[in-house]
């Protein structure tokens, strides 16, 4: 998995989405249902996203898998804490959905074996 192959580029895009997620903290929407990224979430999203990007830059697939597992774990924590008095990531169901998207995406990309370019069909 490198910056020049399709899997690497997909992992880069997903990692970049994680890094960019704090932009949701700038939302001034009054309905307040859209992705809540605040408090601990402001650290978790970009940190895990950076791990995924590092994995591609250093051609270390394991980093991508670990980042994906981290997002999936954060999604699980968010799911079971959403609506309770203890809400570590201070997010909601939308936050859970975004964490799941990036986590499943990175895990899928990280765990899919590459094939030699000559075997790829258009």
């Amino acid at each position: 998995m490198t910056r020049s192959d399709a899997l690497g580029q997909a992992a880069l895009a997903l990692g970049a989405a994680g890094v960019a997620s704090p932009v949701f903290a700038l939302s001034t929407s009054s309905n307040n249902n859209f992705v809540l990224v605040q408090s601990l979430g402001l650290v978790v999203f970009p940190a895990l996203g950076l791990v995924a990007i590092l994995g591609v830059v250093l051609a270390q697939r394991l980093f991508v898998v670990l980042a994906g597992a981290g997002f999936a774990l954060a999604a699980s924590v968010q799911l079971f804490q959403f609506g309770r008095s203890t809400n570590g990531l201070d997010g909601n169901g939308s936050t859970f959905s975004l964490l799941m998207a990036i986590g499943i995406g990175l895990l899928t990309v990280g765990l899919t074996p590459s094939i030699p370019p000559s075997d790829e069909t258009a």
Partner: protein, 176 residues
Amino acid sequence: MSKEAGRVTDAPVVGDDSRTTRALVGILRVGVALLWIENAGWKKPPDFTSLHKYATYAVDYPVFSPFTWVIEHVVLPHFTIFGWMTLLLEASLGAFLLVGLATRLWALLGVGQSLAIALSVLNAPNEWEWSYYLMILAHVALFASAAGRSFGLDGVLRPMWRASSNRVPQLLLRLS
């Protein structure tokens, strides 16, 4: 999977597979994903109060009597389970459509969930019924265009899934 001149391809299933067309299909997919992501935000456990209000619309303003019966006698008495199922389904719809993974499967599930919502609230006051028809049609468009192949993970992963003889990749090939 589309076939061109007898060959199986991974090309988007649209008449014109130009970059612009693919980008527009990708925008449609991400837009529909954001719809579900936002709607996962207000389904709040453990009591799902707001969702419960909309579910009772199916009984108070019935659209289709068998559906009303199911809501009244099956869903409302076990509402906590139903609330969790709805949250998980809608958050998953948002997640999988956002990254474009197994998109055709999730487009079909989106049609089903949109239909369930329509059957709950279509006759309620101040509802615009075309909102729900358009939701259904948007998911039909995602299915028809195999939208995950346009700037989605389906497009990236299909060649690898095809190269594998395992069941899971072969299944994902069909669902994408």
